[in-house]
Amino acid sequence: MNALRMLDARIFLIFILPAFLFIGGLFVYPVLKVLAISVTDPQPGFGNYMLLLENPALRRVFLTTIRIAALTTIISVAVGYVLAYRMHMAGALELRIIVFCLMFPLWTSVLVRAFSWVVLLQNNGLVNAFLLDIGLLDKPAPLIRNELGVLIGMVHVMVPYATLPIYSAMRGIDPRLNQAARSLGATSWPAFWRIFFPLTLPGIGAGMILVFIISIGFYVTPIVLGGGKVVMVAEYISVQITETLRWGLGSMLATTLLVVVLLFVFAFRKLTVLRQGGA
């Protein structure tokens, strides 16, 4: 009888085996193989990782990446919060319009999106032409081929990723809490800052992790809008793999990127759990 039950339990394992083999064999194993190159090529050891400390160019690429990802995260979450709040207050029709506008960049090809920004932001583009016309500028402002351009392009596509978790957190707040705060004597600002805002922090945290993780690996947008002047890690890795053939270095950067992302996920999870009062 007991043996039969044990057998039963093991039979169920067979059902998940195909998925396990598929993910394990075709994703986890190859990724680990690639990451392993960072300690085997060109010679076994941590030489590649030492480069991170020794090579100023590498450090600069990393710092640029983290700075741009962090700025993108902050701006996207700030814009996303305002949008989410508007969605939270909106009627059905307005909500639908906002959601459509929000999702639209996600349905557009990344190349189309990036080159559209080039058209808009270049020296004789729409934005500069307008600013020159109304006399705000006397010569075109450099809006692309620099970090500003990269930021604009990245924030544009990251805003939905920031907005939706925040909106979802707002939706989860009992609307009576606001009434309760008011009945207890809180005018709109204290009611917002002491009650509503703290309760949206988990949503902000989730939005920040999501945007940061995606931002740190951006590839096409920085190439097009940075115009070769703003090099982020993903592009740098690609160059190591396809052009200079320093696979060990590329693999080391990929590993480092992965570790940074995992650290952030871990840190933010801790933070949001604490904020919710120890779960």
Binding site: D174, R176, L177, Q179, A180, A181, R182, S183, L184, G185, A186, T187, P190, A191, R194, I195, P198, L199, R275, Q276, G277, G278
Partner: protein, 363 residues
């Protein structure tokens, strides 16, 4: 003193409240009672200041509240589901209204401590709301609504989320608190027992209109409308063919029987009337009919037991008679023999046992 003056609220073409007026005395316990969708919650939202009435006025000590925002009305509200701030500790939840009023740290601490004592939750000050049971959360909500000495306390279905045993003990607690703090309490509920047990006055709301505003005894013994007679406790409604005589000696015709009736309260003005009769006001004699028992009652009616339902201390019997099926509550202690289905019995009641109501049609 809170005056609700001809208050109406419409949402588009829907009438949530129509011409509701009543006055609540300082320090009293008043219940707004009605079935769900009756408009009682709309009335509460109006008093609280979250909703503005379409017409009418709400006055506190003679001063209109319509231009006073919810946060300035100084009313303590216990919300349905309590609406405790989940990210704040019990102590911080209770301190919130005091902080909003800019009180000093020492004074806040003192008042929070007193409020925690009042609801007997001192050991739970550092807990978060979700670490408390439903009954404890409810007491935190009460403490938070009382701590800033509000002009009145509004309680929106405060007991509906709790199980029966807890509800009963918290009812006691509410009575005790009301006596202890001496503030004006307004309770909104759909629970008749709660209303009868707790209140000095009950406002019964149905379809957005005030059916009756009175003390529980009057509501039960002299309901003004058929709705009130039906909603508060159970009643038999006997349709009448004719009525004649003076109020203290009336003769009614129903199902071929002459019924005697007298009424202290004003008679309804309408021509069509029903006689409402509480199940516990009807005497039932079964077994061998003993001489004398119930024979002084002017109204005598033979019948046959059609249904019996046991409820412990009493038994509900449905008795088929010439004037319809009557529900009778039998006190098991005073029965001569256990009632049986199909048994012939004698019903009787006193002339003042029932009350005449306008016949608005059954609910």
């Amino acid at each position: 003193m809170l005056d609700i003056v001809r208050l109406s609220k419409t949402y588009g073409s829907a009438h949530a409240l129509t011409d509701v007026s009543f006055s609540i005395d300082q320090g009293s316990f008043t219940t707004i009672l009605g079935p769900s969708g009756s408009g009682k919650s709309t009335l509460l939202l109006n008093i609280a200041g979250f909703v503005a009435p379409t017409a009418g006025d709400i006055r506190l000590d003679g001063r209109s509240l319509l231009n006073v925002s919810a946060e300035r009305r100084n009313f303590g509200i216990v919300f349905q589901g309590y609406a405790l701030f989940p990210h704040l500790r019990v102590r911080e939840n209770i301190a919130f209204p005091l902080r909003m009023r800019g009180l000093g740290r020492a004074e806040i601490e003192k008042k929070v401590k007193q409020a925690l004592e009042l609801v007997q939750l001192q050991p739970y000050a550092e807990r978060f709301p979700k670490e408390l049971s439903g009954g404890q959360q409810q007491r935190v909500a009460l403490a938070r609504a009382l701590v800033f000495d509000p002009s009145l306390v509004l309680l929106d279905e405060p007991l509906s989320a709790l199980d029966k045993a807890l509800r009963d003990s918290l009812r006691e607690e509410l009575r005790r608190l009301h006596k202890a703090v001496g503030m004006t309490f307004i309770l909104v509920t759909h629970d008749q027992d709660e209303a009868l047990e707790l209140s000095d006055h009950v406002a019964i709301i149905n379809n957005g209109r005030l059916e009756q505003f009175s003390d529980p005894g009057t509501l039960y013994n002299a309901p003004a409308t058929r709705f009130v007679a039906e909603f508060l406790g159970k009643s038999n409604f006997i349709p009448l063919d004719a009525a004649s005589g003076t109020p203290d000696a009336m003769v009614l015709q129903a199902g071929g029987h002459r019924l005697h009736h007298s009424q202290q309260a004003a008679l309804p003005g309408s021509r069509r009337m029903v006689l409402a009769l509480r199940p516990e006001r009807i005497r039932l004699v079964n077994g061998q009919l003993v001489n004398g028992l119930g024979s002084n009652d002017p109204n005598q009616l033979p019948g046959e037991i059609a249904d019996l339902s046991y409820r412990g201390a009493d038994i509900g019997a449905a008795v088929r008679t010439d004037i319809g099926l009557l529900n009778v509550r039998l006190d098991t202690g005073s029965l001569l023999a256990p009632p049986r289905l199909g048994e012939r019995v004698q019903l009787s009641w006193h002339a003042a046992a029932g009350f005449l109501l306008p016949d608005e049609g059954a609910q």
